[in-house]
């Protein structure tokens, strides 16, 4: 099968998958107990008429399947519904908060992937020695540390030791008065040519990225090491060594490329974990991203916004999986069926 055909087929397969995801989210939202209308009206004493009026306005008096159809078609049009709490289309809210999350996750992965890869490969190379053991133990312990607690501890340390690092927010409003172009503060401050804003943006990134980045790095280290060790046990590695290749050559030309494929695949699949971690990290550091938006929506019972956030997360994960599948097909000559 040609590569083009494979990509096309895979893209087509995404559609029922996403549909299923949206359905699952919809089902959870509608089927579980909890009345959105009462939640929105809250403690405000409302008359029967007001409740019915709101219910009608939200379309909640229509039969379930109609609501479902409306919602799905809405999604195709780019309409994620309306947030009753924020008085804004959900799409707008998502768009506002998306860049902050992108900035956080980007820099976190930029830290996590090289760090995790290097440590994992290094540990595998040293197989069995003290360095290997300490890296393994370190990664394991770090993996067991909840991401939000790690962030809190960093904040505590900064406060206790009086370090000049910001512990909340994406930027200091007194320093950064940069016009937001992309929402990615690092880029925006570069575009505006403002070095103080740039420094400020970076400083604000330090703790959150350290938190989320090391969390991801822990699992990458583990998977990198396992895969390299597995590959090193393969027959063709033995043969390469037998052929007269030096240890370095065997490792770099034969072991690493073969190990890298499953490692990168796994890393791609970590997007789900990354988003999960982002939600918690953003909450700890008051980072204005999608994660905090979701938590906020939950505490305000903003059902449409909750639904919108989750659907967006699901979409992102699906696209990430798609990219992983396609890159796997490109890189591994065995996958062409």
């Amino acid at each position: 099968m040609r590569l083009r055909t494979f990509i096309l087929l895979r893209l087509l397969l995404m559609i029922p998958m996403i549909l299923m995801l949206v359905t699952v989210v919809f089902a959870i939202m509608r089927i579980l107990p909890g009345d959105p209308v009462l939640a929105v009206l809250g403690s405000r004493a409302a008359t029967e008429e007001q409740i019915e009026a709101l219910r009608h306005q939200l379309g909640l008096d229509k039969p379930l399947y109609l609501q479902y159809v409306d919602y799905v078609f809405g999604l195709f049009r780019g309409d994620f519904g309306y947030s009753m709490v924020r008085m804004d289309p959900v799409t707008t809210e998502l768009a506002i908060h998306l860049p902050a999350t992108i900035e956080l996750t980007f820099w976190s992965m930029l830290l996590a992937v090289p760090l995790g890869l290097y440590l994992g490969v290094f540990a595998a190379r040293k197989g069995g020695g003290k360095m290997d053991a300490s890296i393994r133990i370190g990664a394991l312990v770090r993996w067991c540390v909840p991401v939000f607690w790690f962030g809190l501890v960093l904040q505590i340390l900064v406060v206790q030791f009086g370090l000049p690092l910001p512990i909340a927010g994406q930027a200091n409003p007194r320093i950064t008065t940069v016009h937001e172009v992309t929402g990615l503060y690092v880029i925006d401050s570069i575009l505006a040519g403002d070095p103080r804003a740039l420094a400020d943006a970076f400083l604000h990134l330090v703790l959150p990225v350290a938190t989320l980045g090391t969390t991801m790095a822990a699992s990458i280290t583990k998977i990198a090491r396992t895969n390299v060790v597995d590959v090193l046990g393969e027959e063709y590695i033995k043969v390469a060594s037998l052929k007269g290749c030096s240890d370095d050559r065997v490792f770099q030309k034969h072991a690493l490329p073969n190990a890298l494929i499953p490692i990168l695949t796994y890393t791609g699949l970590q997007v789900a974990v990354l988003l999960q971690g982002a939600i918690l990290t953003e909450t700890v550091f008051s980072w204005p991203g999608l994660g905090r938006l979701l938590v906020d929506a939950v505490s305000h019972r903003d059902f449409n916004l909750i639904q919108g956030c989750v659907v967006l997360f699901a979409l992102v994960v699906s696209i990430a999986n798609l990219i992983v599948d396609i890159s796997y097909a490109i890189v591994d000559p065995r996958v062409r069926f």
Partner: protein
């Protein structure tokens, strides 16, 4: 006597596992001359593959060469350091393994892997190495169009040919073939054997160590045969001798276990019993628990290696002074 290319003296290699030690080979000595093909036959677990790996000093991890000497071209391989051994590997002694399937890097094209065998040893450009590899391709009757294929795109037989081509890349003096045809179906097996036979005739100075459990396969190619069992040598001699006139009870059973299409029709005999537990091998002659002719002495004393007929060696008490066959093996012993 022809000058020996490879001379193995009293080689012992054990595998050390936490709870026990496996004596995989325990006192193996033999020699291979230039342009000679030696077939080493035995059951699984007899230690035959270990011999091949030991010569290349490539025993899998818990294995260690405990004692002995491996002389190759005048040098004792066991005394060389890592770098010197690396230079010998493939350039002088190459190996063709059983599983061609998993012996190639799945991410690299076959042609490149063969060329790699050349470039790691010789200081030639990549283009020249590719040229050489293409030539080897032709020698093993592989289509040149397959040069840029990936390993998984080739059939089992093709991969085996590619392995042979790769083994010959540096024009080694000795090729160790460890069960090269076991994983192939009979028709492909025949093709590969024919190929190896041709190569043997063409490359006049090539020596082969052919390791297998399949006597019919070994017999076609080898000049001499060494029979091993339980990590020890049982018999050694010219191929024809061993097949027509096997002396050791094990060899007799072994030869009888392979049906002869042309000969008289007889019942297909297998050798009763199980291979010995190499963690705790039997005392005395290692074959005695399964030997039809064993008696008291066999259980206690290890038989010595002696030349019973011209250039035909056996380790069996039957042929020693006082043994039942001291003066010759009866024809068709029951």
């Amino acid at each position: 006597m022809v000058e020996s290319l490879l001379d193995v003296k009293d080689l012992r290699a054990y595998y050390y596992v936490p709870s026990f030690t496996v004596k995989a080979i325990d006192g193996i000595s033999f020699g291979i001359s230039e342009a000679e093909a030696l077939g080493i036959i035995g059951e699984s677990g007899s230690g035959k593959s270990t011999i091949g790996w030991a010569v290349l000093r490539a025993l899998p991890n818990p294995g260690k060469i405990v004692s002995g000497e491996i002389s190759f071209g005048g040098r004792n391989l066991l005394e060389l350091d890592r770098e010197e051994m690396r230079k010998i590997r493939w350039k002088e002694i190459a190996m063709v393994t059983q599983s061609a399937m998993s012996s190639f890097d799945p991410l690299m094209r076959i042609g490149d892997q063969i060329a790699e065998a050349v470039t790691v040893h010789e200081d030639i450009t990549q283009e020249h190495a590719i040229e050489r590899a293409k030539g080897l391709f032709k020698e093993v009757s592989l289509e040149p169009s397959r040069f840029k294929s990936y390993p998984h795109e080739l059939s089992g037989g093709m991969r085996q040919r590619a392995m042979i081509a790769m083994a010959l890349a540096c024009k080694p003096k000795l090729v160790i073939a460890d069960e090269p045809t076991t994983a192939l179906d009979v028709i492909v097996q025949a093709q590969i054997l024919r190929l190896m036979d041709n190569l043997k005739s063409e490359l006049k100075s090539l020596s082969i160590m052919f390791i297998s459990h399949d006597l019919s396969v070994v017999a076609g190619i080898s000049d001499k045969i060494l029979v091993v069992y339980g990590g020890k040598m049982m018999e050694y001699g010219a191929t024809n001798e061993i097949i027509k006139n096997p002396l050791h009870p094990y060899s007799i059973d072994f030869v009888n276990a392979f049906p002869n299409i042309e000969g008289t029709k007889m019942l297909f005999e297998s050798i009763p019993g199980d291979p010995p537990d190499m963690r705790d091998p039997p005392n005395g002659c290692v074959f005695h628990p399964r030997c039809k002719y064993a008696w008291g002495k066999c259980k206690e004393v290890v038989p010595s290696w002696r030349e019973v007929e011209k250039d035909h060696f056996v380790a069996c008490h039957l042929y020693e002074v006082g043994g039942a066959w001291e003066h010759g093996r009866p024809h068709n012993p029951s």
